[in-house]
Amino acid sequence: MTAEVGLAALWLAAALALLQLIAGALALTARGEALAGVVRPVAVVQGVLALIAFAALVRVFAVTDLSVKLVALNSHSMKPLVFKIAAAWGNHEGSMLLWVTVMGLAGGFVALVERRLPERTMLATLAGQAFVSLGFYAFLLIASNPFERLDPAPAEGNGLNPLLQDLGLAFHPPTLYLGYVGLSIAFSFAIGALVTREVGPAFARAMRPWVLAAWIFLTLGITAGSYWAYYELGWGGWWFWDPVENASLMPWLAATALLHSCGVLAARNALRAWTIMLGVVAFSMSMIGTFLVRSGILTSVHAFAVDPTRGTFILALLAINIGGALVLFGLRAGTVTEGERFALVSREGALVINNVLLSAILGIVLFGTLYPLLAEALGAKVSVGPPYFNPVGALFFLPMLVVLAIGPLLRWRRDKLARFGKRLLIPLGVVALAAFVVVMIGGAGLLPFLGMALGAGLAVASLLPLRDRNLRRTPLPIWGMVLAHFGVAVALLGMASDSAWTVERLVALRPAESTSVGPWTVRLAQVDPVAGPNWTALEGKLDVRYRDGAVQTLRPQARNFWAPPQQTSESALLTRWNGQLYAVLGEEASGGRWQVRLWWKPFVTLIWLGGILIALGGVLAVIGHVASDLRRIVARGKIAYRREKQGR
């Protein structure tokens, strides 16, 4: 029954999306103006219906209703409840339903609260949102119905990929999806603005919080995903330039650029067409990323849900949505009036350089991700990895750090570099000091060395905008900017330190034997079998000591899941303030020895701490912007109220 309710809600939501599109489009014409009042309520109800459908899916998974095909294929009655629920979106159909649900909810939320946009732009925006949603509704209902029944119902389900049975991963996809799909709002805003040609500071101010919110979720999603890959896959690395990782990085890069150009448009009424373009590009990158992952066109360790026919469907959707938006852009962007001008050395100038560099990195990542495909079309097989991405990316990333350090200190419109030469002495000194220290410690390659020196300088420079300010009166968005830029420096230091000073050791130990890795002494105490809810494992007990410190215990496991049968290794981590000890239990070697893989990774945790700081900076900025918008609305209301009173 629940499944049928879900399916009905999904069809209704799709029908309402169609209505929203038609009403929104007609309301823009002279004859259809009467329809204008319909659009917002329809958008809200559509979002609610999509949510009902999603809740129905979660419910059939929670109770393991095996008569639903999707549940039988992806779940199992012997699984902890939280993973039963996570299984709802740990598969293709469920994740697509999550996609339209987030799109519907985001659209509904915008329809409910967004009052800053001109009404006509709002109508065009909601029609655009409905248009994009409709494609995905069609995809779900025609090609991937999540509520399909099985008759007869099987006695037991297939189970969920054990790699996905992890608490971190249970909430990683929804977070990332909030980001991916949240960018659809920016896309629709861009469409709306192109239709009505109303691009200006008000538009940017309206768009900014939505972009920021999506960007925060993306940042958190990427950070969490990176940490998941780090401890769950047991390879000791935190980023693999895998197509799926790139798929999440590309929208983030575009959204980061969009965020900054939005700031220019809001403050200075410049970069109009560019901001619109980025709005289109950001969500396009989300869709392209999803397509690349879902179509199976690129081989990837993440290829959990691969199907070429679905790939064809998504490609058609992509062609219509992105192609349509770019045609509209080509036709209309020329008629969007030119924005304000500015000098190269100015806040705007720095932001433009930042945008160009971010776009360049985006292009590099996109090219690297697609290159195997391009080579294959030309008859060669290649795989592109860190040897390409790291140095080529750094070529643009390192200059961006310099701009990032200087930009926030510049004045709008025009400035002189000479004016703040003295201020930069402190960060430059820190760069020199850090470079000296890194050389003294030794062992760092060129990129980690540059990363560490520039990271230290940026950490100091990012705080400079707070100098000469009354900290209590500093607006929240400034705090947000400082925090986010500081976070970039922190993450960079973590990355550089990890790649420069990680110590790895692969040993075969008999119980009671010891080894050392970096400053740690590690003794294999014993290996015992342990049992979990749907797995059994061999668990190694490692007694570890940092220099002459107290003995602590690490328990890495080699797990055997029985539904579906698969082996995973659960790494064990020990976190100190200055790094992490990472242990993986391998197979039994000859002579009663056990393979144990150990890494000592100095300051590796800074990578994810930095990610969290960046996201937190975004949160401060959203709060600041929304609060000042609210104040403005309240003030305007008061003025109107007074006028009305006086008029009476």
Binding site: L315, E338, L344, S590
Partner: protein, 182 residues
């Protein structure tokens, strides 16, 4: 100080669309072409690359490329004890060996202990086995996975590459290929 004009007109406005269309064409080609994800050996009809692999076990000799030039066609089977399809194809290899076909093996990224168990359980159809611990010879042969089977003619040239496990229905075909290159 010069002002930067922000150009929003001209051909550059259509550049993103052009790039995107290129992307669509590229992936459409990738999607609609027959899905062949295998690395086909470019060495077909060419001499084998030179290699010399040690024996993983004492009971069989190791394998050098010269061993494959015997004047008679033979099969070269790339396998591993950790690979499930290799277990599935073991009866077919046994059948081919029983039919008088000489088979040599390259065991990829294997361990002597597990290889011993594998051969004890599924039988040993191999005249010689080379241990390719790093998978380098496998790559040099133009093989991307296990199992793969090469038909080698009497002069040591690769004449045919069979990708994946040998199913019972493939046995006559392989016998025909061997006969054809005689």
């Amino acid at each position: 100080m010069s002002e930067i004009p922000i150009k929003t007109r001209g051909w550059s406005i259509w550049l993103p669309l052009a790039l995107f269309l290129g992307f669509v064409v590229l992936v459409a080609v990738g999607l609609f072409r027959p899905a062949d994800r295998n690395v086909a050996s470019t060495l077909i009809d060419r001499p084998l690359p030179a290699f010399a692999l040690p024996a993983p076990l004492t009971q069989v000799p190791g394998l050098k490329s010269a061993d494959l030039v015997q004047g008679r066609p033979r099969l070269l089977n790339v396998f591993a004890s950790w690979c499930l399809p290799c277990q599935a194809e073991a009866p077919q290899l046994k059948q081919l060996a029983a039919a008088g076909v000489e088979i040599d093996g390259i065991s990829v990224r294997d361990r002597p202990k597990t290889l011993q168990v594998f051969l004890a359980r599924y039988g040993n159809p191999y005249r010689r086995i080379g241990a390719d611990d790093a998978g380098k010879v496998q790559l040099a042969l133009g093989s991307s996975g296990v199992p793969e089977t090469f038909v080698i003619d009497g002069r040591g040239r690769i004449r045919y590459q069979h990708i994946g496990d040998i199913r019972p229905e493939h046995v006559p075909m392989l016998l025909d290929k061997l006969k054809a290159v005689q």
